[in-house]
Amino acid sequence: MAKKLVIPIGPQHPALKEPASFDVTLQGEKVENILVKLGYNHRGIEKACENKPYLHDLYLIERVCGICSHSHATCFLQAVEEIAGLNVPMRAKYIRSIIGEMERIHSHLLWLGVAAHEIGFDTLLMYTWRDREIIMDLLALLTGNRVNYAVNILGGVRKDISEEEKGQILKAMDVLEERTKYYAHVATEEITIKKRLSKVGYLSPEDAVKMGAVGPTGRASKITRDIRAEDKYAAYGEVDFKVISDDNCDVFGRAVVRIGELMESYSIIRQLIKKLPVTPLKVPAPLRIPAGEAISRYEAPRGEDIHYVRANGTDKPERVKLRAPTLANVQSVSTMLQKGYLADVTIVIAAIDPCFSCTDRMIVAVNGKDEMTWKQLRQHSIDWYKKNRGVDFTKVKLGIK
């Protein structure tokens, strides 16, 4: 019997673009157990939201995650608008959906490149990121910024889509659809990719439900659930689209689902542009939101995003709670890697499209003993690293002035 070995991955690791830490227990070359440790990216956004007016919160919430910034902002606003009883005009809803779908396209293209990079297929990374610039340019044209668009305001959107811009969007969709067909061909029919991704990171439908997998990760395991179809927020009630799912249940299936969703997104944007109604862009919103609470759901590129807002009649929220899709998906990583190989760890982690800046929230369990103050928590972390990793962070000092 080979000796058991624990390999720490992260917080800084070539395969991870974000700080997160994984302890991989190995039996020979096979993974026996994987322990996920989060919290490196915890910024305290929920608390900061309570100290700022709603309008400022919007900018803060948008920076929960740079990749799905529009998702978080829209999700938060839907909750606030529900409490305030605002009727968002239809055109604003359409524009929100259009930007949301564009965000999905850029996020899925980004994922395709990153996943290709993890399996050593850098050519595909360069190809997809080249084409991703088309959608980034379009977003810059429509909103003024490439990444954090800030197109939403309380009660509507701040910028209209003109006739010329409509033409440009449709033209870009044609180009992207053509390119995506090529990627679909490369990623789903190319024999090397197929062999590399098939049967890697298997997550059975039962386990997917048990672990609470959402979004493309769940849909690749036959869980045909999509908030866009279930809840029909924004303008999704007025367009036809399929909920893409796959029965491969592995990393290959997750790639198939994401490429299928890209094609759906192009069709959704085309339909929305065609139907774009003529209404005002926004309704006047009050500064003080009446007391009440609301939960809002949104299908972010990575899965279901949930925001909870409680208002108390002032211009600041009393409580904001958000749960990003990665927190739901990251639990399933250890199940996916059961009896897998060490070489598969990075691609399996990348396959859930993790976004740890979305995920890092803090929860304090209040049942007597488990309650910790910030200082105790910090001390606990230092002690833990000293004991388990042999690193004494209190001794790390800078040799500079």
């Binding site: 800084q12 305290g44 920076r63 995650c65 360069m126 954090n148 500079i400």
Partner: protein, 155 residues
């Protein structure tokens, strides 16, 4: 050291500044813009810039995000692992000054509270054009300071 050898070393440093990217609590926006700067449309590689996996191979540390308390000690360790001469670039408004996260309980306000910084690139997020501009300016200032040193040594 012989002047010609010194010149050669400076030349090779200028022509192949290898970078390492470390997310110190950013929202991912600056991070995807850094990768976008490295991919074909913006192509930072034409300046010899390559992304490396370990700090021991890198000359330039690209940091994005205001430093969270949890990541600060790790950032210092990574900084110490960089070989001399090392450069730190703060990418994005958060990394420069704390940005929207100013005042959050788990945050420092900017990279320069943890380690010394050579170049600041503002923007939320810093666009690839700005990142390229920042890196080339950093290289230029390094070139000038090395040239000054050489003339001083030469008398």
């Amino acid at each position: 050291m012989i002047k010609a050898v010194q010149k050669l070393i400076t030349w090779s440093r200028l022509k192949s500044p290898w970078i390492i990217h470390f997310n110190t609590g950013a929202c991912n926006a600056c991070d995807i813009e850094i990768v976008a700067a490295l991919t074909p449309t913006y192509d930072l590689e034409r300046f010899g810039v390559q992304l490396k996996g370990t700090p021991r191979h890198a000359d330039v540390l690209l940091c994005s995000g205001p430093v969270t308390r949890q990541i600060k000690d790790r950032l210092v360790r990574i900084y110490e692992q960089l070989p001399e001469p090392k450069f730190v670039v703060a990418v994005g408004t958060c990394a420069c000054s704390g940005g929207v996260f100013e005042g959050c309980y788990n945050m420092l306000s900017g990279i320069d509270e943890a380690i010394p910084v050579n170049a600041y690139i503002p923007g939320c997020p810093a666009s690839p054009d700005a990142i390229i501009d920042g890196i080339t300016k950093l290289l230029k200032s390094f070139e000038e300071s090395e040239a000054k040193k050489l003339t001083k040594a030469g008398g």
